[in-house]
């Protein structure tokens, strides 16, 4: 490192004043005058000194003496003029501003420019665009919306006034509104108030179009503002999806959930939506939990309760007999099935279409009681009707006619006597097997998969009881009773699910353990742990509440029948599905 050294030309005796506003114009030449500019930037240079008149004893006139200081070079050689003026006039200069002064002016200019920008931006024509914190969603930015609300805002002319009272009142009222806000709605204590935003005047503007806001559980502790969840000015297109934090601000707070639980217990049970069967999609009726949906939940992956179907051990009450294992395992049946042979995805890829006998069962379960009457090309065989036991019975009691029709259409028999002979032969074959028509009827209704009929009879076909719960009729000579099949379309009705979006790297069997399921009553639904494996920070897949749940629900009895892929039963809770 070099030794520090003073500049050889450093004028150590000169005192510079950088804090002044002006400096001598000769400073750049290295020879500023000693007096310097005036405070308002005028050059004050006159002469290098002011000569002094010295009168010695005995002299009348005296003589002028140079008073130039040593720092300025000391007394000059020529001395003052006879009239007493200095002989060394200082050349005039154009004083320059110091850096400090320039900075002050830049500050002043910037402040003025800032006010100017605000003045222009807040002018009537530009104000809405200038102060708009961001584009509003496409729906609220439409011309129709603007028309409706401009008319409703009392002709203010600002589309902001559609929602904001502040815009309706004008600039001159903003400061008063600000002070009012600081005293009431936005007082410092409110900044740290936990829980969602309370309703305000802005909600009334929302509700002028969005009718009815009583859409959550009746036992909610407080009413919320629309904008507590729905954030506007976040860009065009749809509004941004609701963050889970807004849900857990209530559902994650133990006090609020406890209060909600207490309130729910005091409420009329009929005030709550219930799940009823018979609608579309069909759901198995179940009661609302005693405490409602008030478990404390802070995150799906952390403390979301197990799905109710799993937790409560719900069983499928469908009387149909179906064994997934048999149908899916190789070697158990003639044709091994795949999941999508029966479970077909709906148009939106969310859920499965209903399973029907004709489409999904008839190929294997053909209801053919006589193996000699199979279908041929373009000609239907002789099969029992499906759907109503009385039709089956009627079919069996009209066998002569059925055989005659079959003989005519399939065997090509046209002569009456030949047809009679054909029918008689068939009847003899049946009588040989079953002896009576009653036995045939019992075999059809009660034969199981292996043709066993209660009472010792055997049938060469699988009867109705293979799949259905068939019971004896209550009275003699009545039709056996077959319990009506009711396959639920949906089990987890409080949440949305999309099967299509779960296909990547997953098979059906990864979630639904059906290869060991033997009973129809097995729901075969995955546990929440299966979901959390992916839908968690660790799994890296979206785990927000709105991924499955929605806050807005239809009130009981108001669900739209036009949405078969969504639950008819109200979806009002966030958990426990």
């Amino acid at each position: 490192m070099k030794d520090s050294q003073q500049s050889p030309a450093f004028p150590s005796k000169e005192y510079v004043r950088p804090n002044l506003n002006w400096e001598c114009g000769h400073l750049s030449e290295g020879c500023p005058c000693r007096i310097g500019p005036s405070p308002d930037g005028k050059c004050r240079a006159t002469y290098e000194c002011t000569p002094r008149l010295e009168v010695k004893p005995g002299e009348v006139k005296g003589h002028w003496t140079c008073t130039r200081p040593r720092a300025g070079g000391g007394k000059c050689e020529n001395g003052p003029h006879p009239d007493g003026t200095c002989c060394n006039a200082i050349p005039k200069c154009q004083p320059r501003r110091t850096l400090r002064s320039i900075r002050k002016r830049v500050v002043a200019f910037t402040i003025i420019a800032s006010f100017l920008i605000l003045f222009i931006g807040m002018s009537r024509n530009l104000r809405d665009q200038f102060i708009n914190p961001g584009p509003i969603s496409s729906v609220h930015a439409s011309a129709t919306f603007a028309d409706i609300h401009t008319k409703g805002s009392g002709g203010v002319g600002s589309t902001c006034a559609a929602c904001h009272d502040g815009a309706r009142q004008g600039v001159d009222a903003w400061h008063a509104k600000t002070l009012d806000a600081l005293k009431h709605g936005l007082a410092p204590a409110e900044w740290i108030r936990k829980g969602p935003l309370k309703t305000s005047a802005m909600d009334a503007n929302c509700l002028s179009c969005h009718k009815g806001k009583n859409f959550h559980q009746p036992n909610r502790v407080d009413d919320f503002a629309c904008h507590a969840c729905h954030k506007e000015h976040q860009g065009g297109g749809f509004m941004p999806q609701v963050d889970s934090g807004y849900c857990t601000s209530c559902h994650g707070t133990a006090e609020l959930m406890a209060a909600s639980r207490e309130m729910g217990l005091k409420k009329d049970p009929h005030a709550f939506p219930s799940f009823q069967s018979g609608g579309k999609p069909k759901v198995q009726p179940r009661a609302r939990p005693e405490n409602g949906y008030t478990e404390v939940i802070t995150a799906f992956h952390a403390d979301h309760p197990e799905f109710r179907q799993i937790r409560d051990g719900v069983r499928d009450e469908n009387p149909l007999k179906f064994n997934h294992e048999v149908h899916l395992r190789t070697g158990k049946i003639t044709r091994t099935l795949k999941c999508d042979d029966c479970h077909e995805r709906d148009g939106r890829g969310e859920y499965q279409r209903p399973i029907t006998y004709q489409k999904h069962c008839a190929e294997c379960h053909a209801l053919q009681f006589d193996p000699d009457t199979a279908a041929e090309k373009n000609q239907p065989g002789m099969y029992l009707p499906h759907g109503d036991p009385s039709y089956v019975r009627a079919f069996l009691r009209s066998l002569n006619i059925q055989y005659e029709e079959y003989g005519r259409s399939h065997e090509g028999i046209t002569r009456r006597d030949e047809l009679n002979e054909y029918v008689r032969g068939k009847r003899l074959g049946i009588e040989k097997l079953y002896e009576t028509g009653e036995n045939l009827e019992r075999a059809v209704f009660f034969a199981d998969m292996k043709g066993r009929v209660p009472g010792g009879l055997r049938a060469p076909f699988a009867g109705c009881a293979t799949c259905h719960d068939v019971s004896e009729p209550a009275t003699d000579n009545a039709t056996p009773v077959i319990k009506k099949v009711s396959t639920a379309d949906r089990w987890m009705t409080l949440g949305r699910f999309n099967h299509d979006s779960h296909q990547k790297d997953l098979t059906c069997l990864d979630c639904h353990k059906v290869m060991t399921s033997k009973l129809t009553s097995d729901l075969n639904l995955p546990s929440i742990k299966t979901c959390v494996a992916c839908h968690s920070p660790k799994g890296g897949i979206d785990h927000r509440c709105i991924r499955c749940h929605t806050y807005h629900n239809s009130l009981p009895g108001t669900a739209s029948p036009k949405s078969p892929a969504t639950p008819v039963a109200p979806v009002e809770a966030k958990h426990g599905d």
Binding site: S4, Q6, I131, A201
Partner: protein, 261 residues
């Protein structure tokens, strides 16, 4: 301490922000208070009689609080750049003030060290005087060699290559980049001229070479000391703009808030 404060702030934001929907008002008012504190840091100098602590102490405080304000700003805007015209203006203003502050911190820490290492110290206000002295020395040297009988090599060299060099600060950007290219260029030029100079002229060239080297050192001082002052030309004025815009922002968010019934 600042790092801990920022980490605490960010952790609190991630953990508690969803539970407190009005946290933007809290962080906003905190940010405004911090900005006021930072903007009027200079006022301390105006009231020395109050004995509010040393300037160095206040400077450190300014730096720590300034760093914290950056994190607070991002918490306030929710980690997304605003979309509206006014809000973009406000955010940009903060960004520029913050970044010039960071730049100023680096300048005020790094450049004085460089100036000291250079081994030639001179007050900024005295640089014009020193430059003038150097020019006079150089011109006197060159004029002494012009006698009408010898070749005018040095005089022409001075007039063509060095005349403007001595009249004003030169090569500021190169000095800021710590580049020695201008010096090297002059050395080459001197070596080139020296081939045509006679013995007496070579001594003169050596003296001129020393003066040019001093001018380079002077320019180096000027460039770095200017940088030490000029960053404030963006930092301070925009701080006031930021305050003005912030006041309007406060009025707007309260007057237009949906939380006001």
């Amino acid at each position: 301490m600042t790092v801990l404060s920022i980490a605490g702030l960010l952790a609190a934001y991630v953990r508690y922000a969803p539970l407190y929907p009005r946290h933007a008002y809290l962080s906003g008012w905190m940010l405004f208070a911090v900005m006021l504190f930072l903007t009027f840091f200079n006022l301390r100098k105006r009231v020395p009689f109050l004995r509010l602590g040393s300037a160095a102490c206040w400077m450190q405080l300014h730096l720590y609080v300034g760093g914290f304000s950056g994190a607070l700003f991002f918490v306030h805007i929710g980690w997304s750049w605003p979309a509206g015209v006014f809000h973009q203006l406000l955010a940009s203003c903060f960004g520029v003030v913050f970044l010039t502050g960071v730049l100023g911190l680096w300048i005020s820490r790094a450049l004085p060290r460089m100036l000291t290492v250079a081994g030639y110290e001179i007050p900024f206000e005295s640089i014009p005087h020193a430059r003038s002295n150097l020019r006079q020395q150089a011109e006197a040297l060159v004029l002494a060699g012009v006698d009408g009988r010898t070749s005018p090599v040095i005089a022409e060299f001075y007039a063509k290559m060095l005349g403007m060099f001595f009249t004003k600060p030169c090569n500021g950007w190169a000095h800021l980049r710590q580049s020695r290219a201008p010096q090297v260029a002059h050395i080459f030029q001197f070596d080139e001229v020296q081939r045509y100079a006679r013995k007496g002229e070579r001594e003169m060239l050596d003296q001129l070479r020393d003066i040019v080297a001093q001018k380079h050192m002077l320019d180096y001082q000027y460039a770095l000391q200017s940088a030490l002052r000029l960053w404030l030309f963006a930092h301070i004025p925009l701080s006031y703009s930021l305050l003005i815009f912030s006041v309007l922002h406060i009025i707007l968010v309260h007057a237009f808030s949906g939380s006001v019934s």
